[in-house]
């Protein structure tokens, strides 16, 4: 009951409404400000100075105390101003393997004419990155979040904050950006060897894709390795063509869920399959992936690798 009420209150106070698409503008209602520990110490010192000034009847003491006090108030405005009216947009995050750090790009746009300094971005209040945002520029910064599990990783609630200029106040804003990062399963470190490739039956097998002998050119498809692009042809203005090779491996390599030992668990299997995908890609083989309920056709190159890894990442996940 209490927790629910507190949650509700927090959501209302900090305007938390779940991930937002598009640009977040840090309007006044979204920026919060509180004194820091140093700010409180500063106030205590000022109080001491005020008592001393009264006691010793020090006119200059009064002046100094009030000047510093006014400066404190002023610093609060500066701190607030350092955050106000920034426009925040979530960028993309490259897929990572589980156990690695996912970097979510956040674009901070300062359309005003004042320089913003030392804007920090953090997701856990422990590690922060700081950027300066000059007037009329957009700066990209990235928050790194450890991807523990495969699947879709969302950054959750990020905190954009600043203590500039004097460190007496802490202004912050919660960002709930609609960003996602695909987290691939961590590849098994010492996996099983690649399964044996099956030679495709029939005469068509002669045109199986291999690596060794050049067999002709075809239209470039997205995902073809840049190394196989016929750059000379491109230079002759013939458009992008991909060189095709045939090799002894006129084979079909199927990375099959059901071919794994039955004692393996789901995550273990996914790990193993990820390892195979990487190995097959490294060996520049053509491969396909069979998962329960999903089959990715035979192909090769970066695009195939990423497709397969993504399928593994999202296998049987709710998001």
């Amino acid at each position: 009951m209490y927790a629910a009420l507190k949650n509700h209150l927090t959501n209302w106070l900090f305007q938390l409404r779940g991930p937002q698409t598009g640009v977040i503008v840090l309007v006044q209602r979204r920026v919060f400000i509180l004194p820091t520990r140093q700010g409180l110490t500063f106030a205590a010192v000022l109080l001491m100075m005020l008592t001393g000034s009264i006691n010793y009847n020090l006119s200059l003491g009064f002046i100094l105390t009030f000047l510093l006090g006014a400066m404190g108030v002023n610093a609060m405005l500066y701190t607030f101003r350092n955050m106000a009216n920034l426009r925040i947009a979530g960028g993309r995050a490259r897929p990572v393997f589980a156990g690695d750090t996912a970097h979510f790009i956040v674009h901070i746009d300062n359309s005003g004419r004042t320089h913003r300094y030392a804007i920090g971005l953090t997701h856990d209040r422990k590690e922060s990155v700081f950027v300066d945002v000059p007037p009329r520029t957009t700066v990209a910064t990235a928050v790194g979040i450890l991807a523990r599990r495969r699947g879709i990783l969302r950054p959750g609630r990020l905190t954009l904050f600043t203590r500039f200029p004097l460190g007496l106040f802490y202004a912050w804003s919660y960002l709930e950006l609609d960003m996602r990062c695909v987290v691939y399963p961590r590849p098994a470190s010492q996996g099983l060897p690649l399964p044996p490739a099956t030679t495709s039956a029939g005469a068509g097998a002669e045109r199986g894709q291999g690596q060794e002998d050049f067999s002709g050119l075809r239209q470039y498809h997205l995902g073809d390795s840049p190394r196989h692009i016929a750059w000379k042809a491109a230079a002759r203005d013939q458009g992008l063509l991909t060189k095709q090779f045939t090799g002894p491996a006129d084979t079909e390599l199927w990375l099959d869920w059901s071919a794994l030992p039955p004692r393996m668990g789901v995550e273990e299997r996914l790990s193993q399959l990820a390892r195979w995908v990487l190995d097959a890609h490294a060996a520049q083989l053509s491969f396909g992936l069979r998962l329960p309920g999903e089959t990715l056709e035979m192909a090769m190159g970066h695009a195939q690798r990423d497709r397969c890894l993504e399928a593994l990442a999202l296998y049987d996940s709710d998001s």
């Binding site: 140093q38 000034s53 006119s59 005003g112 030392a118 922060s128 500039f164």
Partner: protein, 651 residues
């Protein structure tokens, strides 16, 4: 440098060290030498450690230094509390904290202590130069604090100075409101330490040969006087201070306090003036003969000494009036007269004998006085600041031996002769003259104007002022001390006044100092009340005062925030674009907002599909917009049409 635990960069350490050293520097003259040396060593060590990227000394070593320094301070001051010992401890601790400073958090603590150290300087001096110097210190400390909170690419320090200057400058209005309206309480909240006001000079309540001459070497201001009318002639400017009736052979001391007012007759109208007395830590308050007014929180005695109830520890201001022609004390009590005749037996036998011989020659008191003054004038007596030393019989040695001395020598000798001759007499000390500052039309009386004269009592006239110094050196009365003493005598530069330019500078400076004293340092609860009365608020309670202060402060903060937050949004200057944005805003309200990345033409196309009813108007506007903003269309007519279409669009 934004993480509280991050180690400090070299430039931050250096600036911190520099600013703290600057704040501590004025204390150097007041602290024992080893504290100064210790602080310098610690600061240099810290700079060196940072420079060479060495490790900081262990905390154990620092602890040993802390204990040692504390004991040292205790041994030096015999206490750990109070002003001087407190400052010494604070300086030592600052130095040690410098060497213990590892992170941003430590640096911030040092900065706050630095601000605190600034205020301790004001305990000793609140002059304009101190204020300016401390302002510079605060400026640099603030800039250092600012640079601590920059991210990695830190702008050069000049920029931090500029920003912190702006920050401080923008704080001035609020500071003024707080300063003027913060409810002032008079008097200390708790007992001040013994040493709170040590080291101020002024007239003492005893007089020995040489005591006034010592004061003459100080050009410190004793008080300033602003007359309501013209400044009286120099011969009237006897500022009455301690009156001394008791003589023990060497030392004159101030009489016990005598209550009551003697009868007196005055003629003419009194001169009225305002005295601003500098603190001198004694009770004396000064007025021209004959004071005709009482001072609040002070008593006036039967011999017209004005004594404050408490030692004058702060600058005080009081209104005073004086009758320049008067007669008083004709019916003086027998006790007082007997005291004014007492001489310690066994001292100054030659003088006593000389006085008796004079008495035999002159039956008339006035004739006798004239004779003694004539002796001072005509024989080889000289007026000098550096007289030869006197023996046990000071007056004998002076009258028949050295014959050179300062005012207190003459006053003392004269009074002794009078008493020996049976004429009641006493010493009055105070100040004579003063310097007119034409710029502000007020009188500056310095310690160098200290003077001692005598009063003798005649049966028919009461107490009459006789200044034996005037007989020796009439210039002393007419033109002040600098004209009276030989040029070879040491006198403070400010008192000499040889060069016209220097004089002018000096007057300007004193005018500034006086204005500063009156309006800044002398901003007392009374002044505050007067200020409020002048704007029509009579007897403001502290509650009302607080309310006024807070509401004014709120107004200032609102104005300031409006000023500071005004340049945060992108400003669109192109009127065409402004009109188009207005158009987009209207569509947003209709529920079809434009995507951030959507061009006008795409938007119009999408709108045509989503809201076919608006398509015609949207297309017309979009086409006009594209032509006006991106095309060659510049005619005013086209712009007007565009604007009108946008305006009419809402329907």
């Amino acid at each position: 440098m934004t993480d509280p635990k991050q180690p400090l960069a070299l430039q931050h350490v250096l600036w911190l060290t520099v600013s703290l050293t600057m704040v501590a520097a004025p204390h150097a003259w007041r602290l024992p030498w080893w504290v100064v040396a210790l602080f310098a060593t610690l600061a240099a060590w810290r700079a060196y450690v940072s420079y060479g990227r060495l490790t900081l000394p262990s905390r154990w070593l620092l602890l040993v230094v802390v204990i040692g320094a504390t004991i040292g301070v205790y041994l030096h001051y015999r206490t750990l509390f109070g002003r001087d010992a407190g400052v010494a401890l604070l300086v030592v601790m600052l130095g040690l904290k410098l060497l213990e400073m590892r992170s941003l958090r430590d640096a911030m603590l040092l900065i706050l202590l630095g601000y605190f150290l600034v205020i301790t300087n004001f305990l000793y001096s609140q002059t304009i130069p101190t204020a300016l110097y401390m302002l510079v210190c605060v400026w640099i400390i603030t800039a250092t604090m600012l640079s601590l909170h920059h991210a990695r690419d830190e702008p050069p320090f000049q920029r931090q100075l500029r920003v912190s200057g702006t920050l401080l400058g923008q704080s001035v209005p609020l500071m003024l409101v707080l300063f003027l309206l913060f409810p002032r309480v008079s008097g200390p909240l708790w007992g001040l330490p013994q040493d709170a006001f040590a080291g101020v000079s002024g007239l003492s309540d005893t007089m020995t040969p040489g005591s006034v001459a010592n004061l003459i070497l100080s050009d410190a201001v004793a008080f300033r006087v602003k007359f309501d009318g013209p400044i009286p002639q120099p011969k009237y400017l006897y500022w009455r201070g301690p009156v001394m009736s008791d003589f023990d052979g060497v030392r004159w001391s101030a009489s016990r306090f005598l209550y009551g007012t003697p009868e007196f007759t005055t003629s003419g109208t009194p001169v009225t003036y305002e005295v601003t007395l500098e603190p001198h830590n004694k009770r004396w308050m000064f007025a021209l003969d004959l004071p005709a007014k009482t001072v609040p929180r002070a008593l006036t005695s039967a011999d017209f000494q004005i004594r404050s109830l408490e030692p004058v520890a702060n600058r005080v201001r009081y209104d005073m009036a004086s009758f320049l022609s008067y007669r008083y004390g004709a019916a003086e009590s027998q006790t007082a007269l007997r005291r004014a005749l007492q001489l310690p037996p066994g001292f100054n036998p030659r003088s006593v004998a000389f006085a008796r011989s004079l008495r035999e020659k002159f039956g008339d008191d006035r004739a006798l006085v004239r004779e003694v003054l004539a002796m001072f004038r005509d024989q080889n007596f000289s007026y000098t600041l550096s007289p030869p030393p006197l023996g046990q019989h000071t007056v004998d040695d002076f009258l028949f031996g050295t014959r050179s001395g300062f005012c207190e020598y003459y006053a003392s000798a004269f009074a002794v002769l009078m008493r020996a001759a049976g004429i009641p007499s006493r010493i009055v000390t105070g100040y004579l003259g003063g310097e007119v500052n034409q710029l502000g039309n007020y009188l500056i009386v310095r310690q160098a104007d200290a003077h001692a004269w005598t009063e003798v009592w005649f049966r028919d006239a009461g107490w009459v002022r006789v200044d034996p110094t005037a007989a020796v050196s009439p210039l002393r009365v007419e033109s002040g001390i600098s004209a009276a003493v030989p040029r070879t005598d040491p006198l403070p530069l400010l008192v000499r006044g040889d060069f016209e330019l220097l004089r002018q500078l000096r007057f300007t400076w004193d005018l500034m100092a006086n204005t500063w004293n009156q309006s800044v340092l002398g901003y007392t609860p009374e002044r505050q009340r007067r200020l409020l009365t002048s704007v029509g608020i009579d007897d403001a309670t502290w509650r009302l005062l607080t309310m006024i202060m807070l509401s004014l402060a709120a107004v200032i903060v609102v104005v300031l925030s409006a000023f500071m937050l005004r340049r945060l949004k992108a400003r669109v200057r192109d009127p065409v674009k402004i009109a188009y944005l207005e158009f987009c805003e209207k569509l947003r309200r209709k529920g079809v907002p434009r995507d951030p990345a959507e061009g006008p033409v795409d938007y119009a196309r999408r709108l045509a599909r989503a809201r076919p009813d608006l398509a015609a108007a949207v297309n017309a506007i979009t086409q006009l917009y594209v032509r006006l903003r991106y095309g060659a269309e510049t005619s005013a007519a086209a712009f007007r049409e565009f604007q009108q279409r946008v305006r009419r669009f809402a329907a």
